[in-house]
Amino acid sequence: MDIPAAHTKSWPRRLWEFGCSLKLAIVLASLATLLIMGGSLVMHFNPGVFGGMDRQTMGVWLPWAWQQSPHLVWWVPLSGICLALLGVNTLCCLIDWILTFTRRWRKTGEYLIHTGFILLVIAYLWGSLAGYRSGPHAIFPGERLDIPKMPGLVLHLEEFAPRFSAQGQPLDMVNRVALWQNDQLIARTELRINHPLLYDGLVILPTSLGQALTGFRFHLPPRGFVNLEAGSRLELDNGTILSIDKLLADARQTSSGGIIPLSDRLGNPAMQVTLLAPSGRSWQGWYFLRGRPPAAMVDAGALLQPIEPIFRTYSLLTVNRDPAGKLALIGSLCLSIGVVLAFFSFYRKRSRGDRPEV
């Protein structure tokens, strides 16, 4: 009696054939497609949960989002599993294919396309688990930034020169930076939009710019104009020393007299001022610049009239690390070269009638 072939196969053999099955690939790809289609709409209408997806790696974002709203997020790991299984499926096909096909070089293009996809799946998983995204970090020219999770690696912003359009919109952020590893220079380069610094999986790129209030320009009769910022000292005509202890861009005074900083943006600016008279008598208090100076200041002759704020521009830099970036690049190269070669083999296969059927 003839026994059907399928029944004579051992289970590892059957498992392998299942892993290599094109039908499994179609089921997995269809499932992933349907899940992502629906999920993309969930994403769009729930920016509170999904809006920050690009600010974190998947490995950081997913556990956070899962805790917040598992009912909105479940499709992400599920479609990830489908795509990862599709990667395994593709790998099985590739191995099976390489082992069974003769004249393999003819199908180099197809091999490369499949290899590229497998590498990209691995690179995404690896990068999601071992990489990080940080920033934007606010840095003033001359300041240094310790690169996260890479001890000894420091970025020095040597110069920052944003470029603006005639209408005043920022066009480009030119950052002259140097990367140091334990006082040894690794790279010195200019960061601009689309021109990041790439080093050991790191991507350092300019994101935007900001302005921080550093002081105010005042008119002080009869002396004229003076610039004051936190730490400034000024000797008044009667010998009293006026010093600025603190400067807040936006503050509020509570009913008990305490001062609460509200934000870094210019709103209701306030200065903490100390007056030290030649007699040794001193006074300390807050001066809200939108009002008149306190009586103690007026008595000491510090009749300051604010003219304009003084800002200092800082750069906002993003620092990301993806240790799998090179692998993804190799995957992309495999895909690209594979596609070009497959363009030729498609017609060759067609003319030879070489075509698998299931």
């Binding site: 094109l22 039908k23 690939a25 179609i26 790809a29 269809s30 992933a32 497609t33 992502i36 289609m37 993309s40 994403m43 769009h44 999904f50 997806m53 690009d54 396309i113 996809f117 995404y124 995204r133 066009l171 480009d172 601009r192 939009i193 689309n194 021109h195 990041p196 991507v203 350092i204 790129l205 993003t318 620092v319 990301n320 993806d322 970036g325 993804a328 690049l329 992309s332 895909l335 690209s336 596609v339 070009v340 497959a342 363009f343 498609f346 067609r350 075509r355 698998p356 059927e357 299931v358």
Partner: protein, 263 residues
């Protein structure tokens, strides 16, 4: 001047489409040949217009809806010519040119001005991303047309259209070439995202749907090996695939908001 030439171009394609219609209804091969000539003339004019805009702007001007519709229409007309000259696909031209008219008609009332290139788009990766994307889309549009005509041919069995086997072959070819070019578009886009945002895949809705387009057509490259799917199922899948393409290209921009740099 450009707007006038655009109207002339539309007129040329309209006349070609009308010629194909006449041929379909009354079988006049001479008129079909004349229509093909008109499409050829239209493609030449459109190529010249595109080249002039490119030269004048100093970069491939595909940064707004007018420009992408114009580029899409040019790619589709060019691809139609390729298939027509290679396979003599005859009355198929009517369907493809109607689609082309819809694209160009959508572009006509829009602002044709070329805006200065912002630094974020000032990279060859951007041009490659766009060129591969729209030529890929045009192949998918071609596959959609052939798929629809395949279903017509199943019912009509007319000699106005190529036989089912030829339609199937053309459909498979369009999908394979479209997938290949769209793969190159995705690679260029990922490289660009890496240097522009610091990560090579972004979870914005346009990128997510582009991945869907890619997976869908990768699946289509294999679906042709499934014997039971080789006829009408494959044709229906080509139509569905183009639905995904249109949603990715137009639907997201018109119905939803996206932070993709080209929105």
């Amino acid at each position: 001047m450009f707007k006038n030439l655009l109207v002339v171009l539309f007129g040329v394609y309209l006349a070609a489409t009308f010629g194909y219609l006449v041929h379909t209804l009354w079988r006049r091969p001479v008129i079909a040949r004349l229509s093909l000539l008109l499409v050829g003339a239209g493609v030449m004019l459109q190529t010249a217009l595109l080249a002039h805009r490119w030269w004048a702007a100093g970069y491939l001007p595909v940064t707004n809806l007018f420009a992408t519709l114009f580029f899409f229409s040019w790619s589709l007309a060019l691809i139609y010519l390729y298939f027509e000259l290679r396979y003599r696909i005859r009355a198929t031209g009517l369907f493809v040119m109607l689609l082309n008219l819809a694209l160009l008609g959508g572009a006509l009332p829009r602002n044709t001005a070329v805006s200065p290139l912002i630094p974020a788009l000032d990279t060859p990766l951007f041009s490659l991303h766009i060129i591969f994307s729209f030529v890929g889309y045009a192949f998918f549009a071609m596959a959609f047309s052939i798929g629809a005509l395949y279903l017509c041919q199943v019912r009509l069995q007319t000699d106005l259209l190529p036989d089912l086997a030829t339609l199937r072959r053309i459909n498979e070819e369009a999908i394979f070439l479209g997938f290949g070019l769209f793969t190159l578009c995705m690679v260029a886009g990922s490289l660009w995202a890496h240097i522009a945002w610091g990560h090579w895949f972004s979870w914005n809705i346009k990128s997510v749907w582009s991945i869907l387009v890619w997976i869908f057509y990768a699946g289509m490259c294999h679906a042709k090996f499934v014997r039971r799917w080789q006829g009408s199922v494959y044709a229906w899948l080509s139509i569905a695939g183009f639905g995904i393409v249109i949603f990715t290209y137009l639907g997201i921009g018109l119905l939803l908001e996206s932070n993709h740099p080209l929105e």
